[in-house]
């Protein structure tokens, strides 16, 4: 009798499970295989974008989508990052380097077919400078004459700002000072134009939360147009037939996935659901390296990992102490044993090679000299040095580095370091309020120029946060560098400033970031560059013949 009962119970299970499994096996072809056939790129994009309005968005995931949907006056070569024509087909620069005149393409169109001209830029840049909009990238405009003054309200007439549409297809931009990286700024999405009629259809120009960027509403001027936005699921963009250079675009469609969990993302890649991942779990890197897997792309990245030192804390006021701390971090070991993705040990704040700039720094790993400095500062063999705290935002990666540095400082300087982790927003609060002693930090350059790293440490710089202030440094970065005539002179000025920074050390550089992505073999023309911004207009898909696209098994 019991057997009969058991049969009754087991039977449904036996029926349900195989049915479910069989129904599952029906699908067959992976995203990647299918995408290779129909020209659809499946892109792991990190997180759900906060906004696709170029004057509101911040963040890398937003950047990727916006650059597919929109284009600036100037583009860049995806390999060399040299400026190349975008919506502007040509431009001239005045002898004093302050006046740029752009000649716009007459065949440029918005994705709804509307003509796209110089007036769009004047209006869009006016919009981007409205404080009510909450544009965090407004400072990208500040090299333009009177832009900062207008934003801060000291100039109220926008006509005084150095942007002028001379006619439908000529735009003149006047800068306060010659700014050698100005053309690069034009390829940042915060300077992209927006379609006025669309923005105004869904609200006022400076209204933050309107629906103009959503599917069905979004109008852009880029190579692709938005066709589908499923929150937390995917965003799909398709070729824009009105794009001035549509004939050269080879991808038909891009699907962006909010792949927040890097472990899941890597599994999706292996299962052929993604062509490219936004990152990779650090413990997987050695496995891919060992397997010599061509899908692993590691490239230098324009960013630095460093520690801020709060120079208002008594024991950290003495620059000899800060120097001793900086000299006893074994960066090679951190890079090789903890990070394992080819990160470059950093001995200065600007990544070497930024616009041909190589910072000179006499910072080095030298425990002997560091101990001597600590003696001079009054802490022989670390005696009497108060226990000091390293603050970091909660993350396993930051913890590993902090523990390693804690041990190095104990070993080489015999000082006690405590570790304190805080949740991201709490950590931000503590750091900006100066409630820390030593704090971990990271900085990604907005544009390829030493200025993007060095102007952070001006006395009144919002991102300084160390309490450090040096008049000569301010003079070099804020007054001298913008006015010198040649590139060489300018780099020399940055060199002098960085020397001061690395002598005083309100910050301890640790390593230069690398970008780490997994890219399927079928993605061609995927250029690794220091901004980690490959170009969607150049990429195309080509499946290798007789090759299974999903790499499986060994990872």
């Amino acid at each position: 009798m019991n057997n009969r009962v058991r049969q009754r119970l087991i039977l449904p299970l036996l029926l349900i499970i195989p049915t479910l499994l069989l129904s599952a096996c029906g699908g067959g072809e992976s995203n990647v295989d299918q995408g290779n056939r129909d020209g659809t790129l499946h892109w792991g994009n990190g997180t759900e974008p906060q906004s696709l309005d170029p004057h509101i968005a911040t963040g890398v995931p937003e950047h990727h989508i916006i650059t597919a949907l929109m284009e600036g006056l100037i583009g860049k070569d995806s390999k060399t990052l040299a400026p190349k024509p975008g919506v502007a087909e040509s431009w001239t620069i005045s002898d004093d380097g302050r006046v740029y005149t752009f000649k716009l393409r007459e065949n440029a169109r918005w994705s709804n077919g509307d003509p796209h001209n110089a007036h769009d830029y004047a209006w869009s840049w006016w919009r981007a400078l409205q404080p009510a909009l909450g544009n965090l990238y407004a400072y990208m405009y500040f090299s333009i004459e009177n832009a900062q003054e207008y934003y801060e309200g000291t100039v109220t007439d926008f006509d005084q700002v150095g942007v002028k549409a001379l006619d439908d297809y000529s735009l003149q931009v006047t800068l306060s000072n010659p700014t050698p990286y100005f053309l690069q700024l034009l390829d940042h999405y915060s300077l992209y134009p927006v379609h006025r009629a669309t923005v105004e259809k869904f609200g006022t120009a400076d209204e933050r939360g309107t629906r103009w960027t959503y599917e069905g509403n979004n109008v852009g001027n880029g190579a692709f147009q938005l066709v589908d936005w499923k929150i937390n699921r995917r965003i799909t963009v398709q070729r824009n037939p009105y794009y001035w250079n549509a004939d050269t675009v080879q991808l038909n469609q891009i699907v962006f996935y909010p792949t927040e969990n890097v472990v899941s993302e890597e599994r999706m890649f292996r299962a052929g659901q993604l062509h490219r991942t936004g990152s990779i779990p650090s413990d997987k890197i050695p496995v891919y390296l060992e397997a010599n897997d061509a899908s692993l792309h590691i490239a230098p990245y324009l960013g630095i990992y460093f520690y801020r030192i709060n120079t208002r804390v008594p024991q950290l006021q003495d620059k000899r102490v800060r120097r001793a701390l900086a000299m006893t971090i074994d960066r090679e070991t951190i890079s090789k044993s903890i990070l394992k993705a080819g990160q470059i040990p950093a001995y200065a704040m600007t990544p070497p090679g930024t616009m041909g700039y190589y910072p000179e720094s006499d910072l080095r790993f030298d425990p002997e000299a560091a101990r001597q400095l600590l003696v001079e500062a009054g802490y022989p063999n670390g005696e009497g040095f108060p226990a000091t705290e390293i603050l970091y935002n909660t993350s396993e990666g930051h913890r590993k580095i902090a523990v390693a540095i804690q041990q190095m400082w104990k070993k080489y300087l015999n000082i006690d370091i405590k570790l304190l982790n805080q949740e991201w927003k709490v950590y931000l609060d503590s750091e900006s309020a100066g409630n820390y002693e030593i704090s971990r930090a990271g900085w990604i350059g907005d544009y390829v120029d030493p200025n993007s790293f060095l102007d952070m440490f001006l006395c009144n710089g919002g991102n300084n946060r160390t309490g450090w202030c040096n008049a000569e440094y301010d003079r070099l970065i804020a007054d001298i560098a913008p006015t010198v005539k040649t590139h060489k002179e300018r780099l020399a000025v940055f060199g002098q400033a960085e020397k001061i920074l690395m002598d005083e050390l309100p910050v301890i550089p640790i390593y230069i970031y690398t970008s780490v992505n997994l890219v399927n073999d079928s993605v061609k023309n995927y250029a690794d560059n220091i901004l980690n911004q490959p170009s969607f207009t150049e990429m195309y898909l080509q499946a290798a013949p007789e090759q299974n696209q999903s790499t499986e098994g060994q990872h």
């Binding site: 509101i56 911040t58 404080p131 407004a138 934003y151 933050r208 929150i231 792949t259 899941s264 599994r267």
Partner: protein
């Protein structure tokens, strides 16, 4: 019964009010604001944003106007996603979460009840020990371990099922449902075993046996109804728990559900989103508890008598 439902709904009002007030106070006292970012935010921007979201008003005023909005069914705009309302985001996430919870519940019930009944029929034998040990393992196994394990076996090695996604590929709901349902299956197995054991020792079962009814008939017709009452009582909170607790599974399988919004909102200090989702989940818990109580009353003549007596 109607009166019972009415009183329970009346009780829900102060409960919700307390939930809203506590959450409101907690989110506003948490360090770090919705607009703090790693890059310094200019004071002009902070001011403009605070004005836009009424954060420049005194806290009590914000509280009163929030309560007024909630009464009108308006949870306000999300701080994190400009242009999106909290109601819209909840509506976007709810279908996936509800569907996942439904399938997980199905998995939990099928596995849990089968195992529990089988165990109760032969207590203290292998037929009891094996499913109950498995249940204990199921209770202890966290979903962040079970999920990736299932993915590894069925997604990566066997390639039978998709490793993630929702409504993207056939079969992509199976692994999430099993991952989320297993823990609950284990609870249900233990509950149904206990319930069945108690019922099977009752006089009316002995009478049924004496009348010569077959064992399957006794189980199906007489024992299950009483034996599953503890399971029914558990279903309400369990379903609410499945809806609100699916964050880990949603993250592992990239499911566009509500759980991810709920947790991200807390990290982002998206005040309106935290409040909106909390109120929403609280309401769900209240409703599901009420439904499971009503079901239990309907199934159990003794309880029916009591409610009638009260009313």
């Amino acid at each position: 019964m109607l009166r019972f439902v009415f009183y329970r709904l009346l009780q829900a009002i102060p409960v919700l009010l307390i939930v809203i007030s506590l959450t409101f106070m907690l989110v506003h006292s948490a360090p770090g604001g919705p607009f703090s970012a790693d890059k310094a935010v200019p004071p002009e921007v902070i001011k403009a944003l605070e004005a836009q979201y009424n954060l420049d008003q005194p806290l009590w005023q914000q509280y009163i106007s929030y309560l007024g909005d909630v009464l009108k069914g308006d949870f306000g705009p999300s701080f994190k996603y400009p242009g999106r309302d909290v109601t819209e985001l909840i509506a976007a996430g709810l279908p996936a979460t509800a569907e996942l919870a439904f399938y997980a519940m199905l998995v939990a019930l099928v596995i849990g009840v089968s195992a529990g009944v089988a165990a109760a029929m032969r207590p203290n034998t292998a037929q009891d020990y094996i499913p109950m040990s498995a249940a204990m393992i199921g209770i202890c196994m966290p979903s962040f371990l079970l999920g990736p394990l299932l993915v590894l076996v069925f997604g990566i090695y066997l390639e039978w099922l998709p490793v993630s996604g929702w409504d993207d590929m056939p079969g992509d709901k199976i692994l999430p449902a099993i991952t989320l349902g297993t823990g609950y299956a284990a609870y249900i197995a233990r509950l149904s075993r206990g319930g069945m054991l108690e019922v099977l020792s009752q006089d009316y079962i002995r009478t049924a046996r004496a009348k010569g009814l077959s064992e399957p008939l006794i189980i199906a017709k007489h024992a299950l109804r009483g034996g599953l009452i503890p399971v029914i009582a558990f279903l309400g909170p369990a379903f609410a728990g499945l809806l609100g607790g699916s964050f880990v599974v949603e993250t592992i399988f990239q499911i566009p559900g509500l759980g991810r919004f709920y947790v991200q909102a807390a990290f982002n200090r998206d005040y309106t989103m935290i409040l909106g989702t909390t109120v929403f989940f609280s309401t769900l818990i209240i409703v599901f508890n009420l439904l499971s109580d009503m079901l239990a009353i309907w199934l159990n003549p003794k309880l029916r008598q009591q409610t009638r007596g009260e009313s």
